[in-house]
């Protein structure tokens, strides 16, 4: 009974190994197709050179020197592009081609996977193989377990996009973005960072145990220099005014009250561009623009707050300035009237007053 179960399991592992091997062959084919494309380009570049060579020969023989000169200039220009292209082609073709694994090696990889990372799951119908990680905690933030699901048929598309997903099984996503379930996972896609080349190479070589181990290592490591959302902002930042949770990038700091706000509860000074909250901003009643405390002042008369541009040099708002002018005019008029009246009295009593005895 037990022997039968083991045999059945091994039979499935052989089937899975065979599927994986086919996928690696397909990947190899894709790689060779890329070389094929480069070869084709190389061939067409060479045929252009032959055509130019024939044209040049004819031009010289027939004394068409202007044409010969044109061809010479064109070839000279093309040669610069060609040498760059040739260098790239050499680099591309000289990369060591990975050795294709044997079925027995893939089988051994799967046995090792079982031994190193615990029981893996595979679905022969949907052609997937999954490893489930232990619960992952980074800097005291529990992110839960992750399922690393490799889509066998997508291995051949390795050079275009990752053939696997990293799925959070007990998600504790970032407060500001529910797609980010790990500092280096967004929308179930892992950003491999330093592991990119070796993960790719492990798949090319059919080293599936190394492939999964590398991904687990990335999930267990936090790189604070380049996360989607840093762990310090994992819970998000709460707007001091409305309480809405926002990411660090969407949070605005008000230097006047030392708090953080969402974009709805913050603004910026139209005069000096300082970011501030709506509570610390004043709206100038005249130009109606928000201004900070440094760029606004009270009118010396009415004590209403205006932006400094809308106040006069004497620190008055336009209304108070007008009132003051009117007042000054009135005072001026009064003064003039009084002096006129005084002048009239003086002219009537000119000469000596007659005093009767």
């Amino acid at each position: 009974m037990r022997k039968g179960k083991i045999m059945n399991k091994n039979k499935n592992i052989i089937k899975l190994s065979s599927l994986l091997l086919d996928a690696i062959y397909e990947l190899k084919k894709q790689r060779l197709r890329q070389i094929q494309d480069k070869f084709r380009d190389f061939g067409s570049k060479c045929s252009f050179a032959i055509k130019d060579s024939n044209l040049f020969y004819t031009a010289v023989e027939k004394n068409w020197f202007r044409s010969a000169e044109k061809i010479r200039t064109r070839v000279s220009r093309s040669l610069n592009d060609f040498s760059y292209y040739l260098q790239r082609f050499k680099e591309f073709i000289n990369i060591d081609e990975p050795k294709l694994p044997k079925l027995s090696e893939i089988f051994a990889e799967l046995l090792q996977l079982d031994q190193d990372l615990g029981e893996y799951q595979f679905d022969l119908k949907y052609k997937t193989i999954s490893v489930i990680t232990e619960p992952i905690t980074l800097e005291e933030i529990n992110l839960g377990s992750f399922e690393i699901k490799l889509y066998i048929e997508r291995i051949s598309t390795l050079y275009e996009h990752a053939p696997y997903k990293v799925i959070a099984l007990e998600p504790n996503p970032a407060g500001s973005d529910s797609n980010v379930t790990h500092p280096h996972v967004s929308s179930e896609t892992l950003c491999e960072g330093d592991g990119h080349v070796s993960i790719r190479r492990a798949l090319e070589d059919g080293r599936f145990c190394d492939f999964f181990t590398m991904i687990v290592s990335i999930l267990q490591t936090y790189n604070p220099d380049s996360p989607y959302i840093s762990l310090s902002d994992w819970e998000g930042r709460s707007c001091y005014d409305c309480g809405y949770t926002v990411s660090g990038d969407e949070s605005y700091y008000c230097e006047y009250c030392d708090n953080e706000f969402c974009d709805q509860c913050s603004t910026y000074c139209q005069k000096c561009d300082t970011t501030m909250c709506l509570g610390c901003a004043s709206q100038c009643p005249l130009c109606e623009e928000p201004v900070c405390k440094n760029c606004s002042a009270k009118c010396k008369e009415c004590e209403e707050i205006y932006c400094k541009d809308c106040l006069t040099e004497e620190g008055l708002c336009p209304d108070c300035e007008e009132q003051r002018k009117e007042q000054e005019n009135e005072e001026q008029e009064d003064k003039s009237k009084k002096s006129e009246a005084a002048a009239a009295v003086q002219s009537d009593s000119m000469g000596q007053t007659i005093v009767h005895a």
Partner: protein
């Protein structure tokens, strides 16, 4: 003596390597991963963990895989 050496660090490569007879896994690690701490790596010989004084044999398959790999936003 020839062994298969698979290094999953950086470029990640698998290749045959000529080593001296009686080379221990610890010596190989020190030679190939100078300045690195062995505790930060999974070291396997023929897919199995081995003690540090294990003496490598002809055709052994040595794998060195980092346990700390920094992911990043591409």
């Amino acid at each position: 003596m020839r062994i298969m050496y698979i290094n999953n660090v950086g470029g990640g490569f698998a290749n045959y390597l000529e080593i001296e007879e009686n080379t221990s896994i610890q010596k190989l690690f020190t030679q190939k991963m100078a300045g690195e701490n062995a505790e930060d790596y999974l070291i396997r010989v023929n897919r199995q963990p081995v003690p540090r004084d294990y003496v490598l044999q002809e055709n052994d398959r040595v794998t060195i895989t980092p346990t700390k790999v920094e992911g990043a936003v591409r």
